[in-house]
Symmetry: C2
Subunit: 353 residues, 2 copies
């Protein structure tokens, strides 16, 4: 039996301006001093911004009445003196995680705008601001999702037991409340995954070649899009659980929404043409689920490279970054994580203007 | 019987960059030359941006497992040298309509950032990026929604029959496709309306005093929030169908999600303390539904002013603006609509830094 309990945001009682909310969330953060120094930079110079829908279909009845539906939604920002290739951010929980650091400092959206990259935030079909789908959907609230997020996102091994040195402001109740609410409905079914990948392919047809940066289950969707289209210039996937294999390769299990999925030889061959980086945070060994997914990642990367592709794995711990969660780009040390993305983009010549 | 038909976005075949998509949508627009001249201004100077959740509750089971839910989502942008009061944009269809003009020129989000206002885009609880609700929800696709939007938004009196001189790029197929997709799920039930208003009250507790700018059914939600809290500095409501009346006043019909709703004398009295403007587009007389709603608006404004409040009605046609739809802020002449908002803000001293 479930009950609903009203809970005021802790912030509300004490903070009376937006600057105050940011300051209050930051107040207890470990990286506060450093973050404030870095955030207090020059303004972002924004050439233009807006949003558009892409892809989609419609339902109609025999009288010709219609509903436009199943499109995805792109929120775009283009900085002044922009670089040529945009970063297309593909979440698996909420755009919140690209917009903010856990302590409400700047997320990758702003950090990479400051670097001159056009930035796109993507809600795929049936997700968030694109939930005007062509099919019926039922959403059910479910007690236990907070606890599931806590361990899946590797804040700690069990609910409210934090990993030592985790890159989250663990004593900041407001930041934790924000994290638990950084989620909206997504239907992890194979049909929806294919739909999202197909809509993204249409997005790249409009946007042009793009660097796709993914979180969690966004990764397999991006791989599927790349397997069907040549407009993806590169993929950087943070903690992607789902990989594509051609017939006879991989774990050989049935297609699953969290991977693996089987693709044709022709589709797999497209993945050999672009640089791909798979980034993993800390404490993987404490999670049987993520340990198994990392193993699949190694299998995938080995196969890609054996066939002449350009895939690599980055274990953040090996780069000297410790305590990273499932969402390194939102972690307290996200500027160091961003610096590694800079390296990747420069190394592959993806940072030109 | 409904069928799903894949339909490529017209844009996709011919446009290969984001600038191209914008240019292509603009290509046939009536206001093209003017718009391009005005859009080609200096970059927007953005001090910071991000998003946060506000309000909400949780569901839990007897074992203590939880899901955080029923919060709203605020996407905020703060320009350099910002004015004191933010504009809080409350849609009833999609944030798209605040972000873009129908021809993909700048929407109010960017226009008012350029003027120095902090800008907030609001997805209330259970809407868009805040659809992680505490209750179950079922969404059903339904043929006929495009046709309903066409007439409700007063593009014309009947499907694909445009009003003469309507402020929409009527021959631009891409712009029309974008408009039909500028929508996501919202549940217009009294329970949800109260929930959205309550979450907004919590948002103002964090943000501080705000100017609330609403579209359509967002209007009554904002009035409800103002009736419960003193942090709303002003309301500007574009084509609001729903009004609040104290006992014994108004049409005397039962509470309805599209208005009216009854409030206590004490709640109604709070509405007397803030300036309110109700803006209406063109061709109202061609729509029995909107004619009736305008009549209710007049009744509400008369009552507010009879009791010492500060409410006014702006008929855009009387200001020399013709052809405006249900969403004047997204119309081709949205810069002229914005200039009227400037006047209102200046007149009430709401534009200070």
């Amino acid at each position: 039996m479930e009950r609903v309990k009203a809970r005021s945001l802790v912030l509300a009682a004490t903070a009376f301006s937006l600057f105050a909310v940011v300051a209050q969330v930051q107040a207890q953060a470990q990286a506060q001093a450093q973050a404030q120094a870095q955030d207090a930079g020059a303004p972002i110079l924004l050439e233009r911004q807006g949003s558009f829908s892409v892809g989609g279909a419609d339902v109609s009845d025999e009288g010709g009445a219609t509903q436009s539906c199943d499109h995805g939604y792109v929120e775009y920002q283009i900085p002044a003196d922009a670089r040529a290739l945009p970063l297309f951010f593909w979440h698996s929980s909420s755009t919140f995680v690209w917009q903010n650091r856990w302590d409400m400092g700047e997320g990758f959206q702003s950090l990479f705008l400051r670097r001159g990259y056009p930035v796109m935030l993507w809600d795929g079909p049936r997700v968030g601001r694109a939930n005007w789908g062509c099919d019926s959907q039922t959403y059910n609230a479910m007690a236990g999702r907070d606890q599931q997020n806590f361990t899946s996102w590797r804040f700690g091994p069990a609910w409210m037991e934090w990993f030592d040195g985790v890159q989250f402001p663990t004593h900041n109740r407001s930041a934790f409340d924000q994290a638990m609410r950084a989620r909206y409905d997504e239907f992890d079914r194979l049909e929806n995954i294919r739909l999202e990948a197909a809509a993204a392919v249409e997005a790249f047809g409009i946007i042009g070649p793009s660097i796709v940066v993914t979180s969690s289950a966004g990764g397999m969707r991006a791989l599927l899009a790349a397997a069907h289209d040549g407009q993806i210039a590169a993929i950087v996937a943070y903690e992607n659980p789902g990989f594509l294999f051609p017939p006879g390769e991989g774990p050989g299990t049935a297609d699953s929404p969290f991977g693996p999925m089987q693709v044709s030889e022709e589709e797999f061959a497209r993945l050999l043409t672009i640089p791909m980086q798979f980034v993993w945070g800390d404490n993987i060994e404490a999670s049987p689920v993520w340990s198994a997914k990392l193993e699949e990642c190694r299998q995938f990367v080995a196969l890609i490279n054996a066939r002449g592709g350009k895939a690599e794995i980055v274990m953040l711990e090996d780069e000297g970054l410790t305590g990273n969660t499932h969402m390194p780009f939102a972690d307290l040390n996200n500027r160091e994580v961003a610096a590694l993305l800079d390296d990747f983009l420069a190394r592959h010549g993806l940072d030109g203007r």
